[in-house]
Amino acid sequence: MKKFFTLSLLVCSSLLFGQDYFPENGGLKQAETQYTALTNATIYVTPTQRLNNATILFKNGKVVNVGANVSIPNNTVVENVAGKYIYPSFIDMHTNFGVEKPKRASGNGRSPQYDTRREGFYWNDHIMPEQRAMEQFKYSSKKAEGMRAVGFGVVNTHVPDGIARGTSVIVALNDVDGDAHRIIEDDAAQLFSFSKSVTSRQSYPTSLMGAMALLRQFNHDAKWYANGNSETKDRSIEAFNTNKNLPFIFESGSKTNNLRADKIGDAFSKQYIIVGGGDEYENINDIKATQASYIVPINFPEAFDVSNAYLANYISLEDMREWNQAPSNPKILSDNGVAFALTTHELEKPASFSKMLEKAFTYGYDKTKALEALTTTPARLLGKSELIGSLQNGRYANFLVTSGPLFENGTVIHENWVQGRKNVLNDKNQKDIRGDYTMTAAGRTYNLKISGDATSPKSEVKMDTISFPSKFTYADNWMSLSFTDETTKEVYRTTGVIPKDGTSFSGRLLLPNGNDSNFTAVQTNGFSEEEKKDKDANEAPEMMPITYPNVGYGNVTQPKQQTMLFKNATVWTGENAGVLAETDVLVKNGKITKIGENLSVGDATVIDATGKHLTAGVIDEHTHIATLAVNEAGHNSTAEVTIEDVVDYEDVDIYRNLAGGVTSAQILHGSANPIGGRSAIIKMKWGEPAANMIYDNSPKFIKFALGENVKQSNWESYSRFPQTRMGVEQMFVSYFNRAVEYQAAKKTGNYRYDEEMEVIAEILNGERYISCHSYVQSEINMLMKVAERFNFRVNTFTHILEGYKVADKMVEHGVGGSTFSDWWAYKYEVNDAIPYNAAIMAKQGVVTAINSDDAEMSRRLNQEAGKTVKYGGMSEEEAWKMVTINPAKLLHIDNRVGSIKEGKDADLVLWTDHPLSVYAKAEKTIIEGRTYFDLEQDKVKRAAIKQERTKLINMMLTDKGGKGGKKRAPMKKDKVHLHCDSVH
């Protein structure tokens, strides 16, 4: 053992580049003086600068000169590599090479942990800018070998954990020399993500919108801290500020998170480099608009195993399309001029990188662009173009020697040089021995065919027409072949060295009886190029059209704004005009322009509405569809988060809502906290990006909540304030007091910007409205009293199931009610919930709406309004207002939508029957003059889905699959329908 230790030390010291000022005790100190030159190569100094018959000269790991006429010093080891190609080696700027993934903190269940466990750092454990990959990094030769095998020479590596992850290290994949050489930059970039650290169980943030708010607040705090305002030390902020001029790399992980990350960066004048999701082709215009540079994974999904028709049924069109379309991502990004680097990130093993890249090429990705994305682009993004990414003088001698043009079929990488150290992948001097041979062994003659890959060929042994099982290996110019002669059932083994010249080889034959003999193989035919050509003929696969959104029922083209004339409709105006029989309505430029009889306009699309009912679009005051998050449950007050950050435009429930006549909705934060997050008020513009769905100049809303949910009564949680309704009141008082004090401090100019306080202050100033989840009369009364004490009014009580008990007080306070038609009995606080609630409140003068809080019910809100006729005897006109103009009033959008009135937005529904009836169907749903749902169009979409599914299934059936024909088992995403109580 001791001997081995000494030996390995000796080996190391003799191979290492010496560090000048280090003493040497293991031998004689000797400086490296030799140059190395590779001559007569085709050299790509950069992806676009090609030199023919050129030489690259390097010493001590760096390029000394490159060009066609390089003078070669005497003390140079020269190698003629005529016919070979030299390229700068690749850079992967997003890895965790040599850094172990942190282990998940073990928990003891029970109550969540709300506070940090660190001292002297930021208050949130998931913010760790002080974390340095350099301190955890441990070079791994094995991992390096894997990366070099596919062409990489340099990686940027970080600790893949936390929201602020600290700094990364740039490392050359140089096995020979130590960290003193191979580490190119200790603190290369600051890393960020939306994912919490697994090492801490601190609850906040539990949601994507919480992570966004946390990052914003941290940036504010860092600025404040930099100005010397803090009296305590915060090592997290200090590290962040120290490294603020480094590149910021944000691992977003999806096409929409890209936009979210970019938005945060923009707010603080920092352009992030974004690690995308590989799905940018789906919203390429928005991606382009970020003007960010990207790091893009190419983990294209495998085909599904669709051989079982029952199971294949479960796979969504969206997921099938992903298989078909994702390989187009690099091409589409590139065609749109988005700057990006490629990465092995998200690949299970780097070995699959080449295969994935090949797939991208079949989709038309340009090979020069690919080389840029692997060399000059990452070098530039890391600010290290002077050292890596190209082969100009002074750069590291990081290059690939290949048999032909890179990325071409049949081209192999012979060598991957890192910092002047040669790593042989496929011996370039090894002869191509593919071809047909006549082999003589033990007096018998066989036909041997060597084919396949030049560097690792395969064999076929035949006698006459009978094939014998055989195994062939070929390395370091030695071949060995074993085969079973099927006629004698005997196994023969041969080994032989391949001569430099000639077309035959011979060697030793090991006979079945253990004796030795000889064999010879004489080439009869050289390798035929036929096979190779076949492979080249790989045609570009057929790609399904991308729809908006890119899921089932998405639009191929967006609906156009039309001039429409509805003739002879029963028009439910929702205004004093009431219900008008046989009336025409004209829509132009997205607005309702005329209501009357016998209207005619030349260029209008005329819709015969005889026997049908035309109403304003249904408005849902309380929904949780179309969002990626509902609750930020990590704190009891979360005014800093906003649903606007997480609107999900791809949710098929938007389309289903349209099919139920819904045109607008408020997506509310959930009811986990007394002070919840801000709302998004949207129009159901299916096919538009999230930003276009949100109302322009949207009224500002925030969710508050009372009762069992905020007390956490119905699950195991005993550590969070408040646990009683008494505590809920004091919490509001405390926050409002603080907001008053915050505003006072703000006026003096000496304050710490606090997004949460900013929002609560807006409530006090009457600029933001509260929609408050509420059930029992005591708490309803309480919040009105708290508001009155702070001199503002509660805008809406939502749910408000005991509103009927305090309707008189509500009128006096001036608050509206938005309730369920008939829900009750699901928890203790709804014991006294009655379906007559809406009618009693409305009759008492409360502006009353019926809402859903449910993805299923929201598409039948017309029927839910109909129930108020049954329960409490509302008139039909008043009942209808409960899902149109009344919620519009509660949302302060009644000047734009909610009724049929000249000048209002043309958000309309044409119903087949009385709109309050269970028998009615929405035939057309229109927003601003665009038809977003149409029964006839829906039929066309259904047929198209069926057709496309069939086509993709057939394509998958014939797909060769991944390694060994591997395909993915069918799967179905777990669609979670979110409610108030959902912790997301």
Binding site: Y310, Y804, W824, A825, Y826, Q844, E856, H914, R949, K975
Partner: protein, 428 residues
């Protein structure tokens, strides 16, 4: 100790309020009652316009067109609509009162194969949720235990009773089996990916069920009693039906085939989301479907938005015997049963056919059609009078309801609060 005392006090208090709010069951019919005039929706697909209905001793003795001269206490049906009482299958009504209050929950016992667990034992005839169903016309229900593979035995009850013995109209009518899914949600806590993937244990689970059925069948009364096997016997001699919860094509076929091979005489599918793809199979095997209610979202992203709305129609059009259930909805939703049926009318189903989905068809499927489900002479006088079309929420307004000829209260805890607070505000 003090805490326990407080909890006990709370219970006593709750119990007291419950009792106060509870409506008193109707008295046994003592005189001849006659409904004159109105539209009679028979529940078998037929309608009688401007007819009459006579009932005595809890049974219908006459129904027909025009008016009758028979002497009796008159109920004016002019302009009104008369329907058989709606039937809600596969519910845990009376087994749980408030979902979030564990102390009120008796619906799911421990154990995977527990056919001897009987719903009727825990049935709370005085549930406030149950009384709230009557004003919408839902007068009968099948009370089923929940959870496990075989959850236990159900009993069919009427919704106006002093106690569980009074309530039962068909004791231990069936056994409820939850068929395993061939696709299942990833158990992420043991490292499986989230989302649904093929259930690798499916074949094993199916064979487990089959073995259980065969073992039950082979059971004979021996010295060692096996209550579970005893409870299963009815399945093989025709006394009980087997209600199998299964949604997709493959599971339904496996379920029906397995049960038939094991000698189960009567199988009903509950759920049946993909039953429309195998209507031929269902008809051949004479298997009816209690289809999931219409106020549901499609199960899969690419499904037609109105798939749940039209599913009953697809099955009925193909000739499958079909009824509606809302097993997966909260119990309080059961009062929306008529509107689930109404929803299918919007898809083009005839109103009287839609009515059968919650009356005549359901009675046939549950095996109580000798007495309930339709308005026919000789059957129980279990029906109601509505101001208008009872399948539409605007017009479902009941004026009278009868169960076995007893006039039942249409008041509830909720109507009382409504009246109390309308009175407070002077609203009419």
């Amino acid at each position: 100790m003090k805490i326990i005392y407080n909890i006990l006090t709370a219970f006593v208090f709750m119990a007291a309020t419950t009792l106060l709010a509870q409506q008193t069951p109707g008295d046994t019919q003592s005189e001849v009652l006659i409904v004159n005039g109105g539209t009679y929706h028979l529940g078998n697909g037929n309608v009688i316009n401007n007819g009459h209905l006579i009932f005595e001793d809890g049974k219908i003795t006459a129904i027909g067109e025009g008016s009758t001269r028979k002497a009796g206490k008159m109920i004016d049906g002019t302009g009104k609509h008369i329907y058989p009482g709606f039937i809600a299958p596969a519910k845990s009504l009376g087994l749980i009162e408030v979902n979030a209050v564990r102390a009120s929950d008796d619906e799911d016992e421990l154990g995977e194969y527990i056919p001897n667990i009987r719903s009727i034992i825990a049935y709370n005839a005085e549930s406030k949720v149950i009384e709230s169903l009557r004003p919408n016309g839902v007068l009968l229900g099948q009370i089923a235990p929940q959870g496990g593979r075989i959850s236990g035995s159900s009993t069919i009850v009427q919704f106006d009773a002093w106690n569980w013995e009074d309530a039962a109209i068909k004791m231990d009518d069936g056994i409820h089996l939850h068929w395993p899914g061939s696709f299942r949600r990833g158990r992420w806590w043991i490292g499986e990916p989230r989302g649904y993937s093929p259930n690798k244990d499916y074949a094993k689970q199916v064979s487990e069920i089959k073995n259980y059925m065969l073992s039950s069948k082979a059971y004979t009364n021996t010295a060692v009693a096996n209550e579970a096997y005893k409870a299963m016997q009815g399945l093989f001699n025709g006394d009980k039906k087997l209600y199998i919860y299964a949604d997709s094509e493959k599971e339904i076929i496996d379920a029906v085939t397995t049960a038939k091979e094991a000698g189960v005489s009567s199988v009903v599918i509950i759920g049946g989301y993909e039953a429309h793809k195998i209507t031929g199979f269902l008809k051949t095997n004479n298997v009816p479907v209690l289809v999931q209610h219409t106020h549901n979202l499609p199960s899969r992203a690419d499904d037609d938005y109105d798939m749940p709305y039209k599913l009953p129609k697809l099955l009925a059009d193909a000739g499958v015997l079909v009824g509606l259930q809302n097993a997966d909805a909260s119990n309080f939703q059961t009062r929306n049963l008529p509107f689930y049926a109404g929803q299918v009318v919007g898809q083009g189903m005839d109103k009287e056919t839609a009515l059968q989905l919650i009356t005549g068809n359901t009675a046939k499927i549950l095996g109580i059609d000798d007495m309930y489900g339709t308005l026919e002479v000789g059957k129980s006088a279990t029906f109601f009078v509505s101001e208008g079309d009872a399948l539409d929420m605007r017009t479902n307004v009941l004026t009278q309801a009868f169960i076995d000829g007893r006039a039942v209260s249409l008041e509830t805890h909720q109507t009382e609060l409504w009246k109390r607070y309308s009175g407070k505000y002077g609203q009419e």
